[in-house]
Every structure is written in C-alpha cells, then in structure tokens.
C-alpha cells in the first residue's frame, strides 16, 4: 500500500447512491459550501465518529450543533484560552467533521491576563462552583421533566374562557417545545462549563509526567488521576445491589418470571418482594436515566423507558452471585493500586519535582471527577429526559396524523418541528385540516431512504492535508487525535491480521470476537467473548462483566471504553480505526492492552 499525504477534499466526496439529496436534512451553515471551497479545503478536518459514529437524523443534528458550539464558546468567549478558540464543524454525507480554530499569534499574549483571571477563578473555586453546577443542572432537568405536551382538545377549556385567559391550547404547546429546546441549549452550555478546564488541568499533569518519564504509559498517568467512586458507575452499582438483594432475600427465582411486569408482579407476593420492588423503584430515579447509547441520538435507548434492559442485567448479575462470583467492582483494590503507583512514581522523582508532582496531581484529582461525573448528569440524565419529552411530542403529532410512526418527528430538523407545530395549531384553530398529514409522510419516507443510503458508506477519517504535527491542545485532549494516529490513517495497515491502537487498559487475553455495531445488539454477547465495536458507552458496563477484553475503532486513554475497562480490570485497545470493520464475529483474537496490539489469530 502506498502512503498518501492528504485525505480527500469534501468537495470530491460524492454522496452514496440514493443519498444525493442529503443536504436537505441539515442546516445550511453546516455544509461545505461551493463558494467557500478554497477556504474550506485549506483546513484539516477530522471526522468525529467517536461521538457521532452514524449519520444522524435531521433533528439529532441539534446535539452536535449545541455541543460543539458550547465547547467553543468557553475557549473563545468565557475563559479566553490564549492559543485556542473553538472547534469549527461541518456535516458531510451524514458525518461530522471538526477543525479546531487557533488564535492569531498576536492575540495570544493579550488573552493571557483574561484567562488567568477567568479560568483562575474556576480553579480557585472549583468545588464550590461545581456544587452550584449540580444545583443548576438538576434544576434544568426538573424544568424539562415538568414540560407537558398535551393533545389539543376539541375546544378551549371553558375555565380558560371564563377567566379571560385569552390564549388557546397551542400557545402552551408551542411554548413547551421552545422551552425544551432552550433547556437543551442550557444543558450543553453547562456541559462545557468545567470540561475544557478540567481536561487542561489533567493535561498539565499528563505533560509533566511525560517530561519526567518520557516513556511512561498514558494508562499509568490515567490510573493515578482516575477516581474510584464516579457517579458514572452508580447505575451499574445499583443493578448489582438489586441483584444481591434479590439473591439474599431468596427472590432470585422471581427474576426469571418473564417480562418486567411479570417479575414485579411475582415480587409483589411477599413482604421481601415488596421491599425489593421499593428498592427497584428507588433506584430508577435518577439512576435508570442511563443509556446504552451515548446520548447524542434520538434512538438511544434509556433504561428508564426500556426496563427490560436493566432487568436483564440484574438477572445476569443474580445468576453470577448465585454461582458465587464476586460482582462488585474491586474498588478497594483499585484505590490501593492507585496509591501504590502514585507513591512509586513519586519516589522516582527528585525532591524538587516531587513538589510539582504533588501540586499538579492534586489539581488533576480535583478537576477529574467532573470529567467523569458530568457524563451521567448530561449525556445520561438530562438527555434521557429531553429525548423522552421529544418522543412525547412526536407521539402527539402521530396521533394527529402527521406521520406514520410514533418517533418519525426526528426526521424533521428542530426548526421544522416548530413549523409543524404551527401547522398543527393552524389547522386546529382554523378548523380546517392541517397540511402536515398530507406532506410529512412522503417527505419522511424520502428522508429515510437518504439516511439509509448514507449509512451504507463509512466516513473518511479526515479531510484535506493534515498539519505536519498535531499540536492543537483540544484535538489531542478531547479526541485523542495525535500526529501518529493521523499518519496511521494515511498509510493504512499492510498486515491485515494485525491492528494497532492505543494501549488503554493493560493485560493480554485471547478469545472470540463479537462485533457490535449498536447498543441493541449487546444482548448477543456471550460469556468470554471479546467486544469489538466502533465506540462504547459507559452504560455498557453490565456487559463488561461478561467479556474478556474490548477493542474499539475510536477513542483515547480517557475514552469511556478505556475508563470502564480499567475499572473492570479488562484489557482494552482503543482507537484502532478499523477494528469493527476488519474483524468478524467469531474470529479468534489476541488483545494486548499493554502494547495496544490486536492480532487476528484465526478465521471465524
């Protein structure tokens, strides 16, 4: 294979057959526009398939828009990160491509005092501001939960008339929608309030360790910083508690009663069972606001709406408890190991450097819990409520005849939903049929075909010519994209039985591959298999009890797969680029999480 030096231009990447009209699905400002070609081709863009591995429905584009815009604003406008503005982004053929925006050299210096003042305030007051953050986020979630999307009644309630309200039912309906979107916008503002700074402080410790020990593994550094008790692990811990409670109360047999309702009915027959049901109900809010996806897609399944998912995991855990397995995370061991390696590396430093080590590690440990915990509060809990509310609205439209399937609203973009609401309300107000029922079904059908066609073609890893050296801090920090990684994408692999990625969690194992492309296939995983997937979400935690190792296409040392695997003591190789398309289910693999090498040992 000959090495190339550039990735293709977006302008030369035609849509897959059947997807030619894909631009109809997304906002104009996210297109590579023909009249901006020179400028756009002059930049290096990398595909963010880590967060958005699949082409998204028009509505779902809101997640990338809000997330990446808010990421940028904190660098550009809140803290004035001296060398870095935000990350520009485009959608092409259904995938999102990112390009970090630097600061002109002459403007870097003048931003320093502002950064010291603003970011300094956050570092100095991290914990109190974080307490405040949690209050804000929970209040935001509560506001979302309170939103109601009620069917339009036949007539305006007589009380409304008699109290002289002077408003009809479409007003609260459209306001609730607008409010949902605004609350979502706030959600993503909050998401990045601490994240960039948190990563930067982590990176400062990381860079210090690399300067002292140039060959220290990324995972050693991560282990010193990573917390033991993260809210991200709480949902899984709740399932384990419920499983153990079922076993210790002699109720395990009821877990096999059938559907969730049948299990709960069987449990209700005894005091112990009713206590178990109370514990189950207590765990649901908030901990079942947890998705096996990543929160960025409207079809991510949240446990709280799919109780069969957590119930299935509880059943598996209970079976393992009955077999005598220890199902709890070995938190004491993890903490002891963290203390041990911290002390040992510190011991290898001279006295001066030990002082710096203590300070930088201390800051990294202060900020890092946010890096882990926010994921539960935003991607899981907030997005769980948001998507649920949007599904309620979609169902309302569906009942009004706007579309064929209850969840078809997500084939409209967020502004079209507003139009459709007016359409609905106009028909209702005028007393004539709305246009939607005769317009949207055909349009949605057309869009579904375009999306299906987009799904058939994988994205390019990147566009245009990469810089000789990737130095942009956020590219490296948030996406794990390094010069080496980009070079590997360019060259490709000459040995089709070997894949290289990031050594994300140590250990060597051999086993059969199970390639999983979406969370809905998680049930296929058999005990002892090696999970191979484009990207994992932390909520896949329960399957980590079954598998031997994880291999992902995307992600770095602090990706969810890496964090969870280290917690569970499983080898992981992340960021292989192509594992999920190269490896077939059933093949024997050797996964070396210490070197980052994956070897295909035999055919399926």
């Amino acid at each position: 294979m000959t090495a190339r030096t550039s990735f293709p231009s977006a302008y030369d990447l035609a849509a897959p057959a059947g997807a030619e009209a894909w631009r109809d699905l997304y906002p104009y400002y996210l297109m590579f526009a023909d009249n901006r070609r020179a400028e756009e081709d002059g930049k290096f863009w990398f595909c963010d398939s880590q967060h958005w591995p699949n082409p998204f429905k028009p509505f779902d584009a809101v997640t990338v828009e809000y997330a990446v815009k808010c990421l940028g604003q904190y660098n550009t406008r809140h803290y004035l990160v001296p060398p870095a503005n935000g990350v520009d982004f485009r959608i092409h053929n259904g995938y999102v491509y990112m390009s970090p925006v630097g600061v002109a050299p002459e403007n870097i210096g003048p931003r320093v005092p502002q950064f010291m003042d603003r970011a300094g305030h956050y570092f100095m007051n991290w914990n109190s501001l974080l307490d405040q953050w949690l209050v804000k986020v929970k209040a935001n979630i509560a506001e979302m939960e309170a939103l109601r999307f009620d069917d339009l009644p036949e007539v305006v309630p007589v009380e409304w008339v008699k109290e002289g309200r002077g408003l009809d039912n479409t007003v609260p309906l459209s306001e609730a929608y607008d409010k949902a979107i605004q609350l979502l916008y706030r959600t993503w503002n909050y998401h990045f309030e601490f994240l960039n700074l948190g990563y930067a402080a982590y990176l400062d410790f990381f860079g210090f360790m690399k300067s002292q020990f140039p060959t220290i593994s990324d995972q050693s550094i991560a282990k010193m910083v990573q917390g033991v008790d993260s809210d991200l692990f709480r949902p899984d811990d709740e399932l384990k508690k419920l499983a153990k409670l079922a076993v210790s109360s002699g109720l395990a047999a009821h877990l096999s009663a059938g559907s969730v309702d049948q299990v709960l009915a069987a449990m209700a027959g005894s005091d112990a069972g009713r206590a178990w049901v109370a514990a189950w109900e207590g765990a649901k809010d908030p901990w079942f606001n947890f998705t096996s996806g990543n929160g960025f897609y409207s079809d991510d399944k949240y446990w709280i709406e799919h109780l069969d998912i957590p119930m299935g995991y509880i059943r598996d855990y209970a079976a393992r408890v009955q077999k005598g397995d220890e199902i709890d995370r070995p938190t004491a061991q993890i903490a002891a190991e963290r203390d041990r390696i911290t002390a040992e590396y510190r011991d290898l430093l001279d006295a001066e450097a030990q002082g710096a080590f203590d300070g930088k590690l201390g800051l990294a440990r202060t900020v890092f819990p946010y890096v882990e915990n926010h994921n539960f509060y935003i991607e899981h809990w907030s997005m769980s409520v948001f998507w649920r509310k949007m599904r309620e609205l979609s169902a309302l439209f569906h009942r009004a005849g706007f579309w064929e399937n209850a969840d078809d609203m997500f084939y409209l973009n967020r502004n079209e939903v507003r139009d459709a609401l007016f359409d609905l309300g106009m028909g209702w107000g005028v007393g004539a049929p709305a246009t939607g029922p005769t317009y949207w079904p055909a349009e949605i059908k057309r869009r579904k075909a375009i999306l299906a066609a987009l799904q058939s073609a994988p994205p390019q890893p990147a566009l245009n010519t990469p810089p000789a050296v990737i130095t942009e801090p956020f590219t490296i920090m948030l996406w794990g994209i390094t010069t080496d990684a980009v070079q590997k994408w360019l060259v490709g692999s000459s040995d089709s039985t070997k894949l290289e990625g990031m050594a994300a969690s140590p250990g060597v194992v051999e086993g059969r591959a199970r390639v999983i492309r979406s969370a809905s296939d998680l049930g296929l995983i058999q005990e002892g298999e090696i999970l191979v997937t484009p990207v994992t979400a932390p909520s896949w935690a329960p399957v980590f009890g079954k598998i031997k190792a994880t291999v992902t296409d995307i992600g770095g040392m602090m990706s969810h797969a890496a964090i969870v695997c280290r917690e569970y003591g499983l080898p992981a190789v992340t960021g292989t680029g192509t594992a999920s398309s190269t490896i077939k289910t059933g093949q024997m693999l050797r996964v070396d999480g210490t070197t980052g090498e994956v070897t295909i040992l035999s055919a399926a």
Binding site: P82, P83, A200, A201, G207, T215, S220, E344, A353, L363
Partner: protein
C-alpha cells in the same frame, strides 16, 4: 523460587578462621571493608533475605598476609620501582613477572588452612563446584566500569583448586590494565588490597543481568533484562546476543520482548569439572530464555534491591534448573546515576495549565 539455596553457616562459624574468612551469611557491616565490594554486596543481599548462593569471602587480610610472607612484598616493589606505565611492552613484562611472583609463592599456611576449612564446611566431600571471583576493595574500584578487570573462575572443584584460584585472583591485581588504571588514578600499586569471593556455583538454566533503568536513555520507569541460556557469563561477556526484555517498573508489565537466536550457552560439564561453551540445540535457540512470569520475578527482585539499597542497580541473576531465582551480584548503576540533572523549575496551578495550553504553539514556532 525465593528460598535461599544454602543452609545457614551460622552454626559453623566457630570453625571459621575469622582473621581470613568472612562467610556471607554472618558478615557484619563492620566486616564489609575487608570483603571487597562484591562480597559486601552479597552479604548485604543475604541480610535483606534475598536468595544468594552460599559462600564466603577470603578477606583482604589473607592477601595482605600473602604479600607479607617470604619477602613477596619487597620483590613486587622491586618490579614496581621501575614500572613505566607509558611503555606498553615494559608494563606487560612487569605485569607477567609480578603475577608469577604472586602465583608461585605458597600461601602462608594459616591462610591456606583457613580457606580449606571454609571450603570443607560447604563441601565435606571436597566436590562442590564453586565460583572464585576477585572482590576488589572500594579504593580500587570507585565505579563499576572497572568491574571485570579481575579474574573469575567458574566451576572450581576441590580445595586444591580453590586455593590455586584464590591466588590467581590476587595476581590479577597486577594485570597491565589494572596497573595502568591505578597509575592514572594515583592509586598506590601495592597498597591496594583485594578480597576473593568463593561461592557455590549455580547450575543455571538461564541467567543474565537486570538494570533498574533503561541504559539507552536513563529512563527510571523501566527495568531492562538481558537473558540467555546457561550461565550468565555469555551475556556479560557479550559473546551472544541475549534475549532482551523491557519491564515497566511500577506496573510490573513486560512491555517489550526481543527474543534473539542464542546459538551458544556456557554450562557445567560435571564430569570434566569445568564449564563448556556449547551450541544450543536448534529448536531451543529461538525460544525465550525466560517466561513472562520469570521476567517479572527478575524485575521484582531488581526493584526490591533498588528500593532497599537506594538508587538504580545493576543485578546479575540466575535461574537454576529447578527454577529457583538467585542474585549473584548487585552494584549501583554508575553511568546515569552520576549525571546531575539540570535544575528544573515548574509552573504550578493555573500557570502550569496555561503553559500546557501554550506549549503546542511554542512547538510550532
């Protein structure tokens, strides 16, 4: 794997002539100057509970007694008084002459008796193979780079041979190289004393060295292990290309394995009472000379010594045919450890974070 090979010599101490013999297991810190660096290191490791083959030091006093007896001292001085270390031919000739003087002279009877008695305690049937190695004193060996200049004799069997090899070690103080070194460093030629280590041979299946830093770059997070089949001499002498293992010290993970084709090994030939350098069977040449578990065991031993002694160490080790790991020698690493690190200053807190964010920009320029 961790049990020492030797039964304790403590009970037999009464039979030892403490003027000339210092058993490793009972030597005290105060004895170390009389034992030379190598023996002192063995004694120290034994005191830490590290498995080390049993043995004893022939103290510097034995060498001093040898020189003092029968005018040997004066004869050597006579040779030295005309020594010209800048004249290679002259130096070599005088080296030969002095070594012959040291070698030909019978030991003082009480010294020889002490060595024979100490060996007999280890080898009642006079048949235990031992290694006889010089153990230079600190003044003579300020750094380990001088190591290996003095002689080592492997698989020495029987008291007669042990006595002869002790004398041969003494004479090795006067190799031309050793004399030049001392001249260059203004060390006296005859004032320098030597001890000799007599130590049970390990019938090594695999052996080699371990350094508690990466000698390529001084990286202290690594332990580097060279290993090959048979006795470690083939590794130390560089006769073969050993297997090379890179271990992450803190995580204790084997990060790299470079398995070489190890064509030869030095092993015991008990019948011939010597070691032989023989070709390794074809199928074993490319096999790893250590399993991963053994690599980790060696690394843990090296790490333990580094921690206990303080500072990077250079360990010689062997694994016998029963799979037991022993330490044969441990000395401070000298190349990187003596480098003074440039004074560093560190930006802390928000300044540090700022520096981290800015660094990529600086790199670009």
């Amino acid at each position: 794997m961790t049990a020492p090979l030797s039964p304790t010599l403590t009970a037999q101490a009464a039979m030892i002539d403490a003027r000339y013999i210092l058993p490793f297991e009972t030597a005290q810190d105060a004895d170390h100057p009389r034992m030379g660096g190598k023996c002192a290191s063995l004694a120290r490791m034994i005191a830490m509970g590290v498995p080390v083959p049993r043995g004893f030091a022939v103290a510097t006093d034995a060498y001093a007694a040898h020189l003092a007896a029968g005018g040997l001292n004066a004869a050597i001085r006579a040779q030295l008084s005309h020594l010209d270390t800048h004249n290679v031919t002259d130096e070599e000739a005088r080296s030969q002459a002095i070594r012959q003087l040291v070698n030909d002279r019978a030991m003082p009877p009480e010294v020889e008796a002490a060595i024979r008695a100490a060996y007999a305690l280890m080898a009642p049937a006079d048949d235990l193979p031992v290694a006889v190695r010089s153990s230079a004193t600190a003044e003579d060996m300020p750094d380990a780079s001088f190591a290996g200049q003095q002689d080592t004799y492997l698989w020495v069997v029987g008291a007669d041979e042990v006595v002869a090899k002790v004398r041969a070690c003494w004479s090795s103080l006067f190799t031309a190289r050793a004399m030049s070194y001392r001249a260059d460093h203004d060390l006296g030629q005859i004032e320098v004393l030597m001890a000799v280590a007599v130590q049970e041979m390990v019938d090594a299946r695999s052996a080699g060295v371990a350094m508690t830093l990466d000698p390529i770059n001084g990286d202290r997070t690594k332990i580097v292990i060279d290993a090959s089949w048979g006795l470690g001499e083939s590794v130390v002498s560089g006769e073969i290309t050993p297997d090379n293992f890179l271990v992450e010290k803190v995580l204790m993970q084997v990060q790299k394995r470079k398995i070489s084709v190890k064509t030869h090994e030095i092993i015991a030939d008990p019948a011939a009472r010597c070691t032989v350098d023989r070709e390794v069977e074809a199928d074993r040449q490319s096999q790893p000379s250590l399993s991963d578990d053994e690599v980790i065991a060696v690394a843990q031993l090296a790490r333990r010594l580094e921690k206990a002694i303080g500072g990077p160490q250079d360990l010689e080790w062997a694994i016998d045919r029963q799979g037991r790991l022993v330490a044969l020698q441990c000395r401070p690493e000298t190349v990187w450890s003596q480098k003074k690190a440039a004074p560093q200053s560190f930006a802390m807190g928000i300044e540090g974070v700022l520096g981290t964010l800015m660094a990529p920009i600086q790199n670009k320029n």
